[in-house]
């Protein structure tokens, strides 16, 4: 049946699976962005740079301290998250009373600084980071490396856990309330600025986690986040910024669509997400899962 489209089923399923894996990265990154924006109304342009820092942190932990991948999976998000906390306290918090666009500009500037410093230090060629789970299994229609399977399972778990915490727990409820009426929430005795700081740190930690996941399969280089972040922006716009579950679903979904495009019309695989974004904006400006104005 599939031969009618000129594509054998093996290739199709193979690409779908790979698309799911890419989608995992999109989902994890857009989740971090959505958490930060949803709870702080700040567009974190530094997200791409923090993703890159996560990968570099993993590399540094391995090279200088001999800490392998599994340790880096825990440590790198914490370290980079602390860095995030630092910049939130020092810089971002000063802009809350202003228009949100200044936050965007500030984080853009920070991204330039981080990227520039890493480029200065490490060049662009990319650093090697070995695969912690080499090998794979032959599924018949494709060869699935274990590591890629791990990426999907792990990011899905993290995404769902985050969603659960924010939507279903008391902590999450406080966070959501604090976005809408920080003054009231503060009046109840909850330390709102600290919550916001920790939220930012958490979002940054998610980006760094994605970076650690990426290190073994993509080249660890200072520009790895730069172009990815714009795709993630498109994902977030499509998904609608308000919803956490929306960004998870959209992330995975768009990864799959991108994978399909690679089969049928590979030259467009870079632009298909933007085309979808344009279409969604024409038909449903608030995004697929966003709340209408």
């Amino acid at each position: 049946m599939f031969e009618l489209i000129g594509v054998p089923p093996q290739a199709l399923f193979g690409q779908l699976l790979l698309g799911l894996i890419n989608g995992a990265f999109y989902a994890l990154l857009s989740l971090g962005l959505a958490v930060i924006f949803g709870l702080m109304n700040v567009i974190n342009f530094t997200h791409g740079a923090q993703y890159m820092m996560g990968a570099f942190c993993a590399w540094m932990l391995l090279t200088y301290f001999g800490i392998p991948y599994w340790g880096a999976l825990v440590l790198a998000p914490i370290i980079v998250g602390l860095f995030g906390v630092l910049i939130e306290r020092l810089f971002i918090s000063r802009l809350y009373h202003l228009d949100h666009l200044y936050g965007l500009l500030l984080t853009f500037g920070l991204a330039l600084i981080v990227e520039g410093l890493f480029r200065r230090e490490y060049g662009i060629s990319g650093l090697p980071y070995s695969n912690p789970i080499p090998g794979g299994t032959n599924l018949g229609f494709m060869f699935l490396p274990w590591y890629r399977a791990w990426v999907v399972v792990f990011s899905l778990t993290v995404c769902l856990a985050t969603w659960f915490v924010i939507e279903k727990t008391q902590l999450g409820a406080y966070l959501r309330a604090a976005t809408e009426r920080p003054d009231l929430v503060q009046a109840f005795g909850i330390n709102v600025p600290r919550m916001i700081t920790l939220t930012y740190g958490f979002g940054v930690g998610l980006a760094a986690l994605a970076g650690v996941l990426a290190a073994p399969i993509y080249s660890v280089n200072p520009v790895m986040g730069a172009n990815l972040i714009i795709v993630v922006f498109a994902v977030v716009v499509i998904g609608g910024m308000g919803s956490i579950m929306g960004s998870i679903i959209t992330g995975f979904g768009l990864g799959v669509i991108e994978g399909l495009t690679k089969v049928f019309y590979p030259e467009a695989s870079n632009t298909v997400i933007f085309i979808i974004m344009a279409v969604v904006l024409m038909l449903r400006p608030q995004g697929l899962f966003g709340t209408p104005k």
Partner: protein, 350 residues
């Protein structure tokens, strides 16, 4: 009355700058000056959108760069092949044979295409505001970037090289950088005056009203979206003018002109110079280009320094250099009525 004083000041400053511009190539390398002028026009066009409509476009490089490509193609090859059809059904091409054009016609072509692109992008982007608008423009600009990478006429990574500089109108030979500089100066002045006229016109007043309080403007019966779209298209067209001119100056159109880093640079120039001020963007452009030139030997330090300037400007110097100067003079003139000009970016309606 205050407006008239402001206008006469503006006129005086403009005259002084033009005089400076006429004499500058005797002292400074003309190619550097032309670069500054092109980017100053680009920044002024961008500023029209952010300063007076309150929309931060993070993808303005798409107009700048795409117009550069169009102008370069028209000047070098001329013949235009337009695709139509769907990818799955196969592309078909309409070929319009044109001889290679003289610079002013090539630039005009670039401007028209930029305006058309502005209509398309604007129609999609205007639907959102504030940060969403910024992100949408960024994403669409990235799409244009990828299209430019793929399209045959752009030459991909090579860009369009060796763009010829034919005599303008067939008469004025502009092969010499010195001569061409005055042409570029004239183009800049024209673009600048168009922006100035747009701001200080009834149309500009409506834009200001929309920026201040969109809901009220709607309730007064203004077709707000249409006004925003028109302003967007004007801004896009003038950014295209800057880009097309730049292609003629350097005889080169490349992918750098459509990257998001270029979009970020024009934001930086405007921010440093002063968003929402008349002369700020030009000043900002001059400073940033000078810095890039001066620090060209230092590679990524330029990136880091630009980032630092961004951060410092956003935290401390939101009004930009010209904005701070204006505020300073206002304080000195001790006119209590006018509050310090904080930039009124469009309030997101959600």
């Amino acid at each position: 009355m205050n407006m008239e004083r402001a206008r006469s000041w503006d006129l005086r400053v403009f005259a002084a700058l033009v005089a400076l511009g006429l004499l500058a190539p005797l002292v400074v390398y003309p190619v550097f000056l032309m670069k500054v002028l092109c980017f100053a026009l680009f920044a002024c066009a961008f500023n029209l959108l952010i300063g007076y409509v309150g929309l931060l476009s993070f993808g303005h490089a798409m107009f700048f760069g795409f117009a550069a490509y169009v102008a370069g193609h028209l000047a070098k090859v001329g013949t235009v092949s337009l695709p139509f059809g769907l990818p799955f059904l196969g592309w078909h091409w309409i070929v319009i044979p044109i001889p290679p054009l003289t610079p002013e016609l090539a630039i005009l072509g670039g401007v028209l295409v930029a305006a058309l692109l502005g209509v398309i992008v604007g129609a999609i982007a205007i639907r959102r505001q504030g940060i969403y608008f910024a992100m949408v423009t960024l994403a669409l600009a990235q799409m244009v970037y990828f299209l430019c990478v793929q399209a045959k006429f752009t030459g991909g990574e090579d860009g369009i090289q060796a763009i010829p500089r034919r005599p303008i109108l067939g008469l004025l030979d502009v092969g010499n950088d010195f001569t061409f500089y005055y042409v570029v100066l004239a183009i800049f002045c024209a673009g600048f005056l168009i922006i100035y006229r747009t701001i200080h016109s009834p149309f500009g007043q409506v834009l200001k009203a929309i920026r201040e309080n969109e809901a009220r403007a709607i309730s007064l019966g203004y077709a707000v979206s249409r006004f925003k779209l028109i302003a967007f298209v004007i801004s896009a067209a003038l950014a295209g003018l800057a880009g097309a001119t730049k292609a003629m100056v350097f005889q080169l159109a490349s992918l750098t002109d459509v990257t998001w880093q270029m979009s970020g640079e024009v934001v930086l120039m405007t921010l440093v110079g002063g968003m929402g001020t008349v002369f700020g963007p030009a000043v900002g452009a001059g400073i940033i280009i000078y810095m890039q030139n001066y620090l060209a030997g230092f590679g990524e330090w330029v990136l880091v320094i630009q980032g630092v300037i961004f951060v410092v400007a956003v935290l401390l110097f939101r009004r930009g250099i010209v904005g701070e100067l204006v505020a300073f003079f206002r304080r000195r003139a001790a006119k209590p009525a006018e509050p310090a000009a904080a930039i009124g970016l469009a309030k997101p309606a959600e």
